[in-house]
Amino acid sequence: MASHLFCGRVNLNILREAARKDLREFLDKCSGSKAIVWDEYLTGPFGLIAQYSLLKEHEVEKMFTLKAGRIPSAAVKNIVFFVRPRLELMDIIAENVASEDKLQPRDVHILFVPRRSLLCEQRLKEKGVLNSFTNIDEYILDLIPYDGDLLSMESESSFRECYLENDQTSLYHAAKGLMNLQALYGTIPQIFGKGECARHVANMMLRMKREFAGSQTQILPVFDTLLLLDRNVDLLTPLATQLTYEGLIDEIFGITNGYVKLPPEKFAQKKQGEGGKELPTEPKKLQLNSAEELYAEIRDKNFNAVGAALSKKAKIISAAFEERHNAKTVGEIKQFVSQLPHMQAARSSLANHTSIAELIKDITTDSWLYFILCNMVRNAHLNMPDVFSQTALLSCVSASEDFFDSLTVEQEFMTGVDTDKVSTYIEDCIAQKDPLIKILRLVCMQSVCNNGLKQKVLDYYKKEILQTYGYKHILTLKNLEKVGLLKPQSTMRNNYPTIRKTLKLWMEDANEQNPNDISYVYSGYAPLSVRLTQVLARPGWRSIEEVLKMLPGPHFEERQQVPTGLHKKRQPGENRTTLVFFLGGVTYAEIAALRFLSNMEDSGTEYIIAATKLINGTSWIKSLMDSPEENLP
C-alpha cells in the first residue's frame, strides 16, 4: 500500500506509520461507531496517510463534507470533525453542532489539523458550543510523505502568506515538522540556508531544540545536512515551463496530492463490437508515484526522451509475453504464469503512459519538432533547408504554436535576449486575450531575468493587461510587485547575467536523451535553486560568496550538537544524505534535477526533498492573484 515510501534512501514509511498510529489512537479515543465530517481540503493530504479501510477498521461508518446547516442523519454514536484551524470553519461547525438533535445527543469531537488553535477554540466558546465537544485534539500532520524521497506539507498558499501577507504560520509549521522529523530520524548536524524565511525557520528550530532540551531521543542521525531554501531566492525557476514528463503532466493537467485527472477519451477501452458506444465522461483519475515501475523510470526524463523509453519498454514487455511460446515444461509454464500479474500490471501501466504521452504530444509536438530544429540551428549552426522550416512553420497552428512560441520567448529571456524591451510576443498574446496567467508568467519572467523592468516598459505592460483583462487585476499586479516578481528597475546594475554565468544557469548543449547536467529538465536552463544545492555539496558555498550576496536574503550555516556516541561513522564511498527544504514550494522539474544529482555516479550526496507545497508556474501565480468576484445584479 505504501511501497513507494520504502524505495528511497531514507525509509519515509516510519513517518507515515507514526502518523497512522496517532490517527488510530485518536479514533479509538472516541469509542463506538462514528461519522467523520471533513474539511474538504484535508481529504487529499489524508489520502496520503490512510485509506478508507483504516478508518473503517476503527468504526468510521459515514463520511460527510463540512457544510453549513445540519449534518446529514446517520445512526452513529460519535461525530468527529476533521478541520484546519480556521475561523470561517469554526462558524460552520458551530452551526452544525447547534442544530444537532437535542433528544438524541451524540458525542461530538473535533480534531484540528495540523495544530489546535486557541483562537478557534475562543471562537467556538463565543458561539457557545465549546462545551459540547467531548474531545478537542490536534493531529500533527506537517510533513506528509509523498514519495520515496519527497515530503510535502500540502500547505496551499504558503508563498502568498509568507511573502505577501507577512503571515509566517506555515513557517512555524515547517519548523515543527522538521522537529518531528528529527525526533524520528535523529538530529540533523548541519543546517544551511538562504533567504529570510530560511533564517526564520532555522531560528525557530534552534529555539525549539532548546525548549525540548532533555527530552531528545537517542537516534543515529539519518540526515547529514539540511538545506533551507526560500522560494524568493529563485523566482525564475517556477515561471519557466517544465519539460520533464512529470513536470509537463503537472503543467498541462495539474497533479493534486499525487493524483492526476485526465480527459477520458484516450483511455476508453477499445473492445471489439462495442465501437460507437458513448465515451466515458468522468475524468480518468490516476495515482502517480514511484511504486509504478515504469513511471519511476520515465517521470524525470525530458519529454523528448520519453517516447524512446516507452517504445523500449513496449518491446521488453511484448518480448516477455512472447516467452510463453518458449515455455515447454510444466516448470517453465508455471514460472511464466507466476510472472503474469506483474507483466499485466506493467502492460496496463505502459498503456496508460502511452496515452498520457499522446495527450501531451497533441499540445506540444508539432511545435516541438520545430523547436528541436531551431535548437539544433542555434546550437550547431546547421543550415536548415528552407522548405523544411516553411512546412514546420505552417504546421504550427493554435495550441501547439502557443506552446512553442512561449517556450522560445522563455528561453530568450533566460539567455538574456532583449529583456529590456517590450516583447512583441507578449503584446500579441495580450491582444489575443490569451489566458492571463500565461501573460503574467512571461512578464514576471522578463522582469526577473532583467532584475526589474524599465519603468516605461513596466507601465506599458500593466496598462495593456488592465485594459484587456479588466481593471480588477490591478490588485493582482500590485501583489506581484509586492513579492518582487514584477519590479521597476532600480539604479542597480542588472546582475542576472552575472548570476547566470557564475552558476552556469544556461547550458547551450543540454543533452535531453542522456543528460549529463541538470539543465536537461528545462532543455537548457539549469534551475538556480538546484545549482545552489549542487554547489553546496561541492565545492561549497564559499566559492560563490559574491553571487550569494546578489540573491535576496541572508545565507547562513548552523551546527546542531549531536549527542556523543551518535556521530555517524561513514563508510568509505557511502553517500551523504541531504534534506532540501523549499519554503514556498517546489516544482517537479526541480525534484527531477535533484534526483538526477542523487543518481550521478560521483555526486557523493543523495537528496531527500521537502516543500511546503508542490507547485508549478500556473498554480503559483494563481495563488498570488486577487480578483474580486463580480457581484452582478
Binding site: 486557541l118 507577512n166 525557530m204 527530552s215 491582444a431 489575443q432 500593466k462 495593456e464 479588466g470
Partner: protein, 759 residues
C-alpha cells in the same frame, strides 16, 4: 544470621514472619486509644485525630501527621466540624470527611488545599459511616448516610456523585459493608444480619457466599483484599470465610473460636501463593489461611492494621511492624536444613570467608547439578526481600561469589538489585520513614517514589536518587528542582531578587525546566514581580504568554508570542488586547509590532473589513486604501456606487503618489472601458469583450489579424485589414469568411483588395 528464622511461624505450607520496622518516634500519652487513625499504604504517612468527638470550642481536637517512623510532620488544632473519617489519597493528600458530608483536603505537611461536598442529601441526613478506597481511577469516598443510603464518588479529582439504590429491609445501620471494584465499576457490598447485598449503580442484588457455615446468624465484619480479588467475612459464630470477591468461589473457612466482634480485619498481600487474612481483637492478632490452623500473636498495645500489597503493617503506640509471608527465595535459603542451591551457595561463601576448603565442596555440589545460576538468582532475590542491610550484604556477597564461577551470566539483575536496595535502605531510614518492601517499590515505580519524597520536601534525597538511578534528567532531577523552586517562591520572608537568583543558579544547568509553572506559583502567591523575573528564564516563549496575559503584562506577552513564531498565539494575544484596550491604544500597540499588525490585517480582511479601512487610514496607507476601494467597487451592484467607489480609489492612488494607477484610471479610454465593462458585461458579455479587444488593437496600432480571426470577429478583422491596406492580410481574412453569413463583408473585402493590389 543465625536468627533469621527466629521470628518465623508456620501456617500450612507457608511461613509467616513479623519484622520490626521502627520503634515509633512519637510520644503519645495514651497510645492510639480514642484516636481516629489513618495510615496510607506503601509506607505512607500516618494521621491521628485525638478526641475527634469533642465539640467544645475550648478543647479542640488536635490533628497530627506523622511519618511511618513516627516523626512529626504537622500538627494543628482542628477547627472545623466533627470528623467522621480520615484517609489518604494516592498522591499523599489527607482527606477529612466531616459529619455534614464536607470533605477537606490537606497536604502531607498540614497545608489546606481545598474542600468539596458530597452533596445535599448527605449534608441533610448526616454521615453515619464512611470509607475511603482506592481504585484504578484514583481515590474514592463512599458514605453511608443517616437515611441509610449510600453515596459514592469514585475519583475525588473528578467528582461525579452517585447515589446507590436502597437496601431492602435495612432498619438500622448495616452490620458491616465494604467497597469493591468490579467490571470497571465501584460497588458496595452490604451485610444486614446474615443477608448480603451487592449495590451497583442501578440495582441491589442479594448474594450468598458459597459454603458459608450455617451456624452463623450474622456477618459482623468483612474486608476486601488490596486488589479487590478476595473477600473475607467474619461471622458471629467466629468463623472466617474466605473466597473470591465475586462470591463464586470459596477458598477456605476457619474457626477462630472467638465470638466477640473484632477491632479490625485485613487481607494479607494477594500477590502471594497463599492468600490469608488477619483478624485483630484487643490484644490479640490471628492469622488465618487456607488451612485450619491459625497463628496467634499477642499485642501489648492498641494497634491498627495497614494492609499492603505483600503483607500487613501493624502500628501500635510504640512500634511499627510488618507481618508478611516469608517470600519464596528467603524461605528456600534460610529454612533450616535447606538444600536449595541458594542455601548451599550462601554456605559456600561463608566457608570461603573462613578460608575453609569446604567452600569448594559446597560449590561443587551446586555445580554438579548445574544449578549455580539458579543459586545466584535466589540469593539476589532473597536479598531484595530482606530488611536488614547486613543480611542483604551477606546474600549479595554470596551471589557475587557465585557469579565468579559462571561465564555469561547476565549482570543486570544483580546490578539493579544493588541499586534498588541502596535506594530502599535510604528511604527506609528512620529520618525519612518510608518502609517500602522491594515488591511494593517495583509496583509503585521510581517516579512515584520521587513524587512522594518531593511531597515531603526531601529535595536533596530525591535528587540524589534520580542521579544515582540515572533517571532521564527531565523526568528526574529537573522535575524535583521544579518542585523545589515552586516551594521556594512561596517563601514570603525572602526578597524577589534573592529568590530569583537562588532559583536561576540552582536550575541553570537542568534541562527541560518549566519556568512558567514556577512563575505561576509565584504569581498565585501574590508575587508578580518575581513571576516576571522568573519568566525571563523560560525558554519556551509560548509557555510564557498565558501567564503574562493573566498578569496583565500584555505588551510583553505580545512580544513573547511573536518570538515563539506561533501565529496562533499571536492571534490569541491580539484578540485579547483588542478586548482590553481602547481602539487607539490597540492600534498603537500593533504599530510597534509589524508581525502582529500584518496578522491582524489578515484577520480583518476576512472578518472585519471596516476595521481594516480604519487601520489603513491610521497608517496613511493610501495605496492599500485604493486597493480596498477597487475591491469594494466590484462588490457593489449599483452603477453609481461603483463609480463613486472607483473615484475614491483614484483619489487614494493620487494621495499615494501612485501616478500610474491613478492615470490608467482617469485617462480617457481605459476609464470608459472599465466602466463600460462593468456595465456592459452584465448585459452583453460576449460581444462587448470582442469590441474591446478590437478597440485596443486599433488604438495601439499593433494590429494582428490572427487575433481577430481567433475571436471569430470577422467584421473587426476585416476593418482592420482594410485600414492597413495589406493585400495578404485581406486575403487571409477573406479565406476565413463563409459565403453564406458574411456576404456583405466579402464584397467589401474584395473591393479593398483590388485597391490594395493597384497600389
Amino acid at each position: 544470621m543465625a536468627f533469621v528464622t527466629a521470628n518465623w511461624n508456620p501456617l500450612g505450607e507457608a511461613f509467616y514472619r513479623k519484622i520490626e520496622l521502627y520503634e515509633m518516634g512519637w510520644n503519645l500519652k495514651d497510645g492510639l486509644r480514642e484516636c481516629l487513625v489513618a495510615a496510607a499504604p506503601y509506607g505512607g504517612p500516618i494521621s491521628l485525630l485525638k478526641g475527634h468527638n469533642r465539640r467544645s470550642p475550648s478543647d479542640r481536637p488536635q490533628l497530627e501527621i506523622y511519618s511511618s517512623s513516627g516523626l512529626p510532620l504537622a500538627s494543628f488544632p482542628w477547627k472545623s466540624g466533627v470528623v467522621k473519617q480520615l484517609g489518604w489519597t494516592v498522591s499523599d493528600d489527607l482527606l477529612c470527611v466531616q459529619e455534614d458530608g464536607t470533605v477537606l483536603v490537606y497536604d502531607l505537611l498540614g497545608g489546606f488545599k481545598r474542600h468539596f461536598s458530597m452533596g445535599n442529601e448527605v449534608s441533610q441526613s448526616q454521615v453515619l459511616e464512611t470509607k475511603i478506597f482506592h481504585s484504578p481511577y484514583g481515590t474514592g469516598v463512599a458514605i453511608l448516610t443517616g437515611a441509610l443510603r449510600f453515596t459514592l464518588a469514585t475519583n475525588i479529582d473528578d467528582i461525579k456523585l452517585r447515589r446507590l439504590p436502597e437496601v431492602p429491609g435495612l432498619q438500622g445501620a448495616p452490620s458491616c459493608w465494604a467497597v469493591l471494584t468490579q467490571d470497571r465499576q465501584s460497588k458496595v457490598l452490604v451485610a444486614n444480619g446474615s443477608h448480603l447485598f451487592i449495590l451497583d449503580n442501578t440495582a441491589c442484588t442479594p448474594v450468598t457466599p458459597p459454603g458459608l457455615s450455617p451456624q452463623a446468624s450474622s456477618i459482623v465484619h468483612m474486608c476486601v483484599s488490596f486488589s479487590y480479588k478476595y473477600l473475607a467475612l467474619l461471622t458471629d459464630s467466629g468463623h472466617v470465610w474466605m473466597g473470591t470477591s465475586n462470591l463464586k468461589e470459596k477458598l477456605s473457612e476457619v474457626d477462630t473460636k472467638i465470638k466477640t466482634p473484632p477491632k479490625q480485619m485485613a487481607w494479607y498481600g494477594t500477590l502471594l501463593l497463599f492468600p490469608s487474612a488477619v483478624v485483630m481483637w484487643d490484644g490479640l492478632l490471628i492469622v488465618v489461611g487456607e488451612c485450619k490452623e491459625t497463628i496467634q500473636y499477642h499485642l501489648d498495645d492498641d494497634s491498627i492494621l495497614v494492609p499492603e500489597l505483600d503483607g500487613v503493617r501493624i502500628i501500635s503506640g510504640t512500634h511499627h511492624e510488618l507481618l508478611q509471608e516469608v517470600p519464596g527465595a528467603c524461605e528456600e535459603i534460610f529454612k533450616i536444613a535447606s538444600m536449595a542451591p541458594g542455601a548451599l551457595l550462601l554456605e559456600a561463601h561463608k566457608e570461603y570467608e573462613k578460608e575453609s576448603q569446604k567452600a569448594d565442596e559446597y560449590l561443587r555440589e551446586i555445580k554438579e547439578q548445574s544449578l549455580l545460576s539458579e543459586a545466584v538468582r535466589q540469593c539476589v532475590e532473597a536479598a531484595g526481600h530482606e530488611h536488614e542491610p547486613e543480611t542483604q550484604k551477606t546474600l549479595l556477597r554470596a551471589a557475587s561469589f557465585g557469579k565468579c564461577f559462571l561465564s555469561n551470566f547476565p549482570p543486570e539483575q544483580f546490578v539493579s538489585m544493588c541499586r534498588d536496595l541502596r535506594v530502599l535502605n535510604a528511604v527506609r531510614d528512620y529520618t525519612v520513614g518510608i518502609p517500602l518492601t522491594h515488591t511494593q517499590f517495583k509496583q509503585m515505580t521510581v517516579q512515584v517514589l520521587i513524587d512522594r519524597l518531593v511531597y515531603r520536601k526531601l529535595y536533596p534525597l530525591a535528587i540524589e536518587i534520580c542521579r544515582y538511578l540515572k533517571t532521564p534528567e527531565y523526568q528526574g532531577v529537573s522535575r524535583v528542582l521544579k518542585h523545589w523552586a515552586c516551594y521556594k517562591v512561596q517563601q514570603k520572608e525572602e526578597s524577589d531578587e534573592v529568590i530569583a537568583k537562588a532559583v536561576s543558579v540552582k536550575l541553570a544547568d537542568a534541562a527541560g525546566i518549566s519556568y512558567s509553572e514556577i512563575a505561576t506559583k509565584a504569581y498565585e502567591s501574590g508575587r508578580t514581580e518575581l513571576a516576571i523575573k522568573l519568566l525571563e528564564f523560560e525558554p519556551r516563549s509560548g509557555e510564557q504568554v498565558p501567564l503574562l496575559l493573566k498578569m496583565k503584562k500584555s505588551p510583553l506577552a505580545l512580544s513573547k508570542a511573536i518570538e515563539s513564531g506561533d501565529t496562533d498565539l499571536v492571534y490569541t494575544v491580539v484578540m485579547y488586547l483588542k478586548n482590553e484596550l481602547n481602539r487607539g491604544d490597540f492600534f498603537m500597540m500593533l504599530r510597534n509590532q509589524p508581525v502582529a499588525l500584518s496578522l491582524y490585517k489578515q484577520f480583518c480582511k476576512h472578518q472585519e473589513q471596516d476595521t481594516l479601512k480604519d487601520l489603513f487610514n491610521q497608517d496613511d496607507d493610501h495605496e492599500e486604501l485604493g486597493n480596498l476601494y477597487v475591491k469594494a467597487s466590484y462588490k457593489d451592484q449599483r452603477l453609481e456606487a461603483r463609480i463613486a467607489l472607483l473615484q475614491s480609489a483614484v483619489d487614494e492612488y493620487y494621495k499615494a503618489k501612485n501616478e500610474f494607477s491613478a492615470k490608467v484610471k482617469t485617462s480617457d479610454s481605459p476609464v470608459t472601458v472599465t466602466f463600460f465593462s462593468s456595465i456592459q458585461k452584465s448585459f452583453l458579455p460576449q460581444t462587448f469583450d470582442q469590441k474591446c479587444t478590437l478597440l485596443f488593437m486599433i488604438k495601439t496600432k499593433n494590429h494582428n489579424k490572427y487575433c481577430c480571426l481567433s475571436h471569430r470577429d470577422m467584421e473587426g478583422a476585416a476593418e482592420a485589414a482594410i485600414e492597413r491596406r495589406n493585400e495578404s492580410e485581406i486575403s487571409t481574412v477573406l479565406s476565413r469568411c463563409s459565403a453564406t453569413t458574411d456576404h456583405l463583408l466579402m464584397e467589401r473585402l474584395n473591393r479593398a483588395k483590388a485597391t490594395a493590389v493597384k497600389k
